[in-house]
């Protein structure tokens, strides 16, 4: 009996070894596939992993003559400086507020848009709408910020219209609340169409027979969405949600940097814009901004793991790992 088990075990081990081919042979066999992935690996090594050594600047008193490695350790002084800086605290709060706002307000919009587009019967019209919604994605924030500023300035289109209808002028770009709303609205306008593509692709993968069957069973459009389309989308939405949470501390540098001004710093200055300003325009130095960047990454990482945990264990959906 015992021998039989041992033999089975050995046989299994041998089978496993056969399955696990040596890496060299594996690479030679699928050389073209590995060649395809090589540029991506090089890209990440050069631009993502190698620069990581600079993170130790956060723990050092940077000395230009000694370089990053040679500079003396500074006993967490950078962390004390950063955490004691009211502008950092403000930027941190803004980042969380804007990012969670994006999750709550912006994240569902592409899903709803995909569902709505899917419900359109006229194929041509659907394509027109899809193109119109997708197009702004291809315009950079540099250009868009100019357009937005022109429309919303004191003598811009919005205020002209407000006056025509007897309302007072609104300084959207210099008032904190309306500026935050503008961030969400303008980002939805720019990105919702593009983001909905992935959901539309998921919807396209649903077997049409399911809809036919549901229709025969008397299900209406809403019931079909609820019972067929949404369950098919749920997995995609969960993965995208995890990714969105992973990038939660990013907050949208391009958009904010191009749109904001000193009047709304207290509401719109996120960690990325704060890092940029502290590294290049203020007199705080690289150690300070590296520390802010490091703190941001650590918090981001924790949030990513938490989101994955919630998705896999609480909602019982498939997570990233």
């Amino acid at each position: 009996m015992g021998n039989a088990i041992q033999e089975d075990y050995r046989a299994g081990e041998i089978k496993l070894r056969r399955l696990k081919k040596p890496l060299g042979k594996e690479i030679v066999k699928h050389k073209y596939l590995y060649l395809l992935v090589l540029p991506t690996i090089i890209f990440f090594v050069v631009f993502a992993y190698v620069p990581m050594y600079g993170v130790i600047l956060a723990f050092k008193d940077f000395d230009y003559s000694l370089g990053i490695f040679g500079s003396p350790w500074n006993d967490f002084q950078n962390f004390r400086d950063v955490l004691g800086n009211p502008d950092f605290v403000n930027a941190f709060k803004n980042t969380l507020f804007i990012s969670f706002g994006r999750l709550i307000i912006e994240f569902p919009v592409p899903i709803v848009l995909a569902l709505l587009l899917n419900e359109m019967f006229n194929g041509k019209l659907r394509k027109v709408y899809q193109t119109v919604f997708t197009f702004p994605h291809f315009i950079s924030w540099v250009v868009l910020s100019g357009i937005v500023t022109t429309i919303l300035s004191d003598q811009g289109l919005l205020n002209e219209l407000l006056q025509v209808f007897g309302f007072g002028k609104n300084n959207v770009l210099t008032e904190g609340n309306s500026f935050t709303a503008l961030l969400f609205i303008s980002n939805i306008w720019k990105e919702a169409g593009w983001s909905s593509i992935i959901y539309l692709a998921a919807i396209a993968g649903i077997n049409p027979e399911l809809y036919e069957a549901a229709s025969i069973d008397g299900a209406g459009r809403f019931q079909q969405i609820k019972s067929i389309t949404w369950p098919a989308l749920k997995g995609t939405a969960a993965i995208l949600l995890i990714l969105a949470v992973g990038g939660i501390m990013n907050g949208g540098f391009d958009q904010i940097f191009n749109l904001y001004n000193s009047a709304v710093y207290n509401r719109a200055d996120i960690l990325d814009t704060f890092v940029y300003r502290s590294a290049f325009t203020d007199a705080t130095g690289f150690g300070f901004s590296t520390t802010v960047g490091l703190l941001k990454s650590v918090i981001n990482c924790l949030l990513l793991f938490s989101a994955n945990f919630v998705v896999t264990h609480v909602f019982k959906e498939e997570g990233l790992y």
Partner: protein
């Protein structure tokens, strides 16, 4: 894979990683860099390449006519050098140079503005061996020696040595007289019944409102950029027209923006904003938008249009085809401050500097200094402004007359010199000397003569804002950290705010305490006593 192979692979991986990291790290120990070149070498006999970073230098070198830039060709052959342009632009210069400094890749010579704007970084770079100290004996460079003998330059010494060459804008700090004046539409003011400069802030408001009644579609006042708003303080607390200034109150030096004397100007700015005189969009506009509005006939007055270029003139003429710019646009002599005197803006005669990488050996450094000495010489300074005498201009009855045809201009003829010449000096005061070529455009010639006349009038009638540069340029650890405050942005927020402006400003100044304001005041006062600054 067996253990041996794994170990070899891991070691190889570590070696590769170490090589990459070493490659990316800085060379250590250049703090005590040994100069390799021999001073005794005959430096003129060998052509030397000098890499130079100055604003938009690459654009000049890439211009179609670059090879025919006689001024630059003469300069390179005379000094036996070749210039290797390293591009920096007005958008990226600060960022690029900081990154180059951190990665030990600084060009041989580069422009920056840290000695005045970020004295802490200037000290750090000097002490940590990023930038090269100038020799104590500058007798071989007489033109540079002249600059370094100026009293206004002395506070830039670190432990008795200079680590940069200040890029002179003017010969004297009082020559900034027109740089924070108000340009306005004299014709519109006269139409509204105002033919003299306003004698008070209230009169300025009345005048502007009277013009706006006649031209309801215009703004009363626009600004070149937010920092030009500080012009307003010339009429109440002139020291604060320069936000880096310090004032002595109750026997103690304090930053001018913390003084209670700042309140009047802040209130006035709020009044201008709430009354609809100050452009409501000033806080969100890009630089020069306010000037464009003024030139387009969309505003009555503008903060910050010291000189008028030919392009700006044509912009004005396009928008106002029936109006003569020389007659319609005037300088407003700002109303008297609290003490009844009219003041003009004051700044150090320089606002940016030229630096040398500490990696330069003595031979290269000597040639670089010769280049700089030539760039600040009287001989060279005329060239980018007027061109070559006999070829581009001639002197008749004490006036310089252009010899260029209508389709020629100096910028196209000498494209490298156009941007490279700024490495030595801005030389903004050249026009005031009366030696500048009389513009071939009759209207422009009248405008330029008006500039010279107004400059002389302001110099004669007004007083330069009383700013103590020794205190302003003083470097102490806590004072250096105040560089991260953005006073102008905070004033802007008060101007466009809704609460009581003084209460708002007081709160902001209180907030500065948490950023080290009191420590800076203490340090500065201790240092002033120690150095015996009056």
């Amino acid at each position: 894979m067996n253990k041996k192979k794994k170990t070899i692979l891991a070691l190889a991986g570590l070696l590769v990683a170490f090589s990459i990291l070493s490659g990316c790290s800085k060379e250590s120990g250049n703090k005590t860099q040994v100069n390799e070149g021999a001073i005794s070498e005959d430096t003129q006999s060998k052509q030397i390449e000098l890499s130079v970073a100055v604003w938009d230098i690459q654009t000049g070198f890439e211009a179609p006519n670059a090879a025919n830039d006689t001024i630059n060709n003469n300069l390179e052959s005379q000094l036996n050098i070749s210039i290797k342009p390293i591009q920096i632009t007005w958008n990226d210069w600060m960022d690029k140079i900081k990154v180059w400094a951190a990665s030990n890749q600084l060009p041989d010579i580069f422009a920056n503005a840290i000695a005045t704007d970020n004295p802490g970084l200037y000290q750090t770079w000097a002490k940590q061996g990023v930038i090269k100290a100038l020799p104590e004996d500058l007798s071989a460079y007489p033109n540079l020696q002249k600059i370094f003998s100026l009293p206004s330059v002395q506070p830039l010494k670190i432990d008795g040595k200079f680590y940069m060459i200040p890029r002179m804008t003017y010969a004297d700090s009082s020559d900034w007289a027109l740089d924070r004046s108000i340009r306005y539409r004299k014709d519109w003011a006269a139409e509204a019944g105002y033919t003299n400069d306003p004698s008070s802030f209230e009169e300025f408001v009345e005048m502007t409102q009277a013009v706006m009644v006649k031209h309801p579609e215009i703004n009363g006042l626009t600004t070149n950029n937010k920092s030009y708003l500080m012009t307003q303080f010339l009429g109440s607390f002139p020291e604060l027209s320069n936000t880096r200034s310090w004032v002595k109150e109750d026997g103690k030096w304090i930053p001018s923006y913390t003084s209670t004397k700042a309140y009047t100007g802040i209130e006035q700015l709020r009044t201008l904003y709430t009354n609809g005189i100050l452009d409501k969009d000033f806080a969100i506009q890009k630089d020069a938008d306010g000037v464009s509005k003024f030139l387009a006939g969309q505003s009555f007055a503008v903060y910050g249009l010291p000189l008028l270029t030919i392009d700006q003139l044509s912009q004005f003429e396009k928008a106002n085809p029936t109006v003569s710019a020389s007659k319609a646009i005037g300088y407003m002599n700002i109303w008297p401050a609290a003490d009844g005197k009219r003041y003009t803006f004051v700044e150090t005669p320089y606002w940016s500097e030229t630096y040398f990488s500490n990696k330069l050996d003595d031979v290269k450094f000597e040639r670089a200094l010769k280049l700089m000495d030539y760039l600040v010489s009287d001989e060279y300074l005329v060239l980018p402004q007027n061109g070559i005498e006999g070829t581009d201009y001639k002197v008749e009855d004490g006036k310089s007359i252009s010899l260029l045809s209508d389709d020629q201009n100096l910028g196209d003829k000498y494209p490298i010199t156009k941007n490279f010449s700024f490495l030595g000096q801005w030389n903004n005061g050249f026009i005031y000397t009366g030696k500048k070529v009389v513009n071939s455009n009759a209207e422009m010639a009248k405008i330029e003569q008006g500039v010279i006349d107004t400059f002389n009038k302001f110099k004669k009638e007004d007083i330069p804002a009383p700013i103590n540069f020794d205190v302003m340029l003083l470097s102490t650890p806590a004072k250096n950290k105040l560089g991260s405050l953005n006073v102008v942005d905070d004033i802007v927020n008060v101007v466009i705010g809704k609460d009581d402006p003084i209460a708002q400003w007081k709160k902001i100044v209180e907030g500065y305490n948490s950023k080290g304001l009191q420590a800076a005041i203490n340090e500065v006062n201790e240092e002033v006593t120690k150095q015996g600054i009056q």
